[in-house]
């Protein structure tokens, strides 16, 4: 569990007009671990993810990739580094089949023409290794259930062989069985050595798969917990601000000192 973090955020801040969305955020993701990112609405989870995914640039602070500082200007930069993001709205094309969606933007070509055979073969292999069950790789996304779409979206993020996968609310709006499938998949990802950042509102999901839990509150770190030594109540109180711990105390001192 030790070892160098794949992705690290050092003192990342982001301001939108009069709102300080993120303040000196510190975060580390290591290979093979599931880091849950929790926090109330408006805590800065999405802003943080967007900063890592290259949608927004942080105003201050450094993003480190495998130990060296990097700048991520565009989503493509993040993808090239090896950061894959699965957004809540999945962004799949309903009219295209599973294979086409998996390889969208990264099509395999042969003599300049789409190599459907190779893409279908690789899709099947990928879905098999992840034990993803879908009716067929040649049916349009429109025919799939919500859980199936979610696993296809996650599988799609793996096509570019990323090292860190960010999942934004992957189990929101999913049923019991589908949630179980997605959580299974999250574990398999970390089992294959990927760093996973899991954003979720659902404490049961977080407790089921996360190794560490980072709590954001009002754009600040409000504690990073090891799941094994933490109860759900502690996390919730950190989320709601009912907690009092070393991290918050030190931060409070820091801001007072600034003023």
């Amino acid at each position: 569990m030790a070892g160098q973090p794949v992705l690290a955020l050092r003192g990342v801040s982001k301001r939108f007009g009069a709102v300080q969305a993120l303040t000196h955020i510190e975060l580390e993701v290591r290979a093979g671990e599931v880091l849950a990112l929790v926090g109330d609405n408006g805590a800065g989870k999405s802003t943080l993810v967007k900063a890592v995914a290259g949608v927004n640039q942080p105003d201050e602070g450094v993003i480190e990739w495998e130990g060296r500082p990097v700048t991520i200007h565009r989503p493509q930069d993040a993808q090239q580094l090896g950061i894959a993001t699965v957004y809540q709205d999945l962004a799949l094309c309903d009219n295209l089949d599973v294979v086409a969606n998996l390889f969208l933007g990264r099509e395999i070509r042969r003599f300049g023409v789409l190599d459907e055979v190779a893409m279908e073969q690789r899709s099947r292999t990928l879905l098999d290794t992840l034990s993803i069950r879908i009716p067929s790789v040649r049916i349009p996304i429109a025919s799939l259930s919500g859980g199936q779409r979610q696993v296809v979206a996650i599988a799609r993020s793996l096509i570019g062989s990323p090292k860190v996968v960010i999942l934004d609310e992957p189990t929101a709006a999913l049923g019991v069985e589908q949630t179980a499938q997605v959580l299974d998949l999250v574990e398999r990802l970390s089992g294959q050595g990927l760093g996973v950042i899991l954003i979720s509102h659902n404490m049961a999901d977080v407790m089921a798969v996360a190794d560490r839990i980072a709590v954001l509150r009002l754009g600040r770190n409000n504690g990073i917990f090891d799941r094994r030594g933490t109860s759900q109540e502690e996390i919730i109180s950190a989320i709601t601000g009912a907690t009092d711990n070393a991290v918050t105390r030190r931060q409070a001192r820091g801001t007072e000192g600034d003023q």
Partner: protein, 452 residues
Amino acid sequence: MTDDPNTPGDEGRFTEGRHEEGRRKLPEESFPTGGVNAPVPVASEATPAVDPRLIVRQEGVKGYLGEFRRRLSSGELGSLPVVLALVVIWAVFGSLNSTFLSAQNLSNLSQQIVGTGMIAIGVVFVLLLGEIDLSIGSVSGLCAAIYAVLEVTHGVNQWVALLCALVSGAAVGFIQGTFFARVGVPAFVVTLAGNLGWNGLMLQILGTSGTVNLSGTDIVSRLYSTIYSQQAAAYGAATAGVLLFLGASLLDATRRRSAGIPSRPVAEIALRTVALAVVAYLAAYTLNQYKGLPLALLIFLIFIVVLDFVLRRTTYGRQVFALGGNIEGARRAGINVPRIRITVFMICSTMAAVGGLFLAAQIQSASQTSGGGNLLMNAIAAAVIGGTSLFGGRGKTWSALLGALVIGSIQSGMNIQGLSNAIQFMITGLVLLAAVVIDSLARRTQKAAGRA
């Protein structure tokens, strides 16, 4: 604690914390024991790759029919409504007057549909994005005028004039596409303004005379009027088409089989090839009964096949479909959305130019009425009647051929019957309405059947 079925597969990942005895409550113990949020035990045995609920199609012809029926009932009508409509139209007009189904009339029809059909191919591209181009009529007239004025009035080399006309079409598409994709003006408004503006430019170019007659021996006229009278031409083209289809199908099936993924059974390939061969040779036979294979029809078919290939087998085509399905998804997949939009409008306008040139060749002149009348509506109607969805993301270039055939057949049949334009317009309007209704209903059924 490792026996807890609620935490599958994570034993051993945690080494710290496990040995501290007299510790705090384990997270598992704080899990809710019931309700939706309770973690679900997950089967640890290997899951089969194929979903057991999947309806697997049976092999053979029976399975093929079953699949066909299932697709119909779930709203995946494809080209079926338009083929049925064509059969009905031909049966009705054929029974009213035998000249309709004569080789001469059908041969002429195959030439007359080319102009509208070419424009309709471009419309298919724009419709795939879920957008519309209302300037195609004016653009077709404009480009025909540019060609005629350059070639006839200024004596420019005919090939240069032809190239200028096509490049002008592409430039128009670039301008309109840029306003749509980069500035963000709705395509509807941009092309509506274009409809008026390009028509004005055409009148300006034609000048005071208003009509420029083509010589009849220039390249555009010859592209339209050339008919290969040798029997071998039509049959050769039919054979080439059938062999191309058969070869591509067999090659694909072989590659799939060697890669170990599902492939089309040989019986199905044979069935499809035979069906295609029947249609192709019947058409070739009919054309040979009259004058032979019109070059215009051949060019039209080549355009359809090539652009169909572009849409279905290239990255570019995949990106066009992706944009029609989910713009945000396409953008996140790294697709350059403005570039695709602009190029699609360029393809549409260029095809409008091609269609305009064929229409000019048909009447042997470029005049102030070129590209006017109901050409715009006919071209859009042809694409929609042919089965391309107005809602984007669904369609193929072949719908231009089928739709143009339907509209051309109605016009031709009514002309033979001596019916007035008034009746023609009303009937064509009804057919267009029917096509859009079928599209909407099919879409609704597809939604209900989980296919849209």
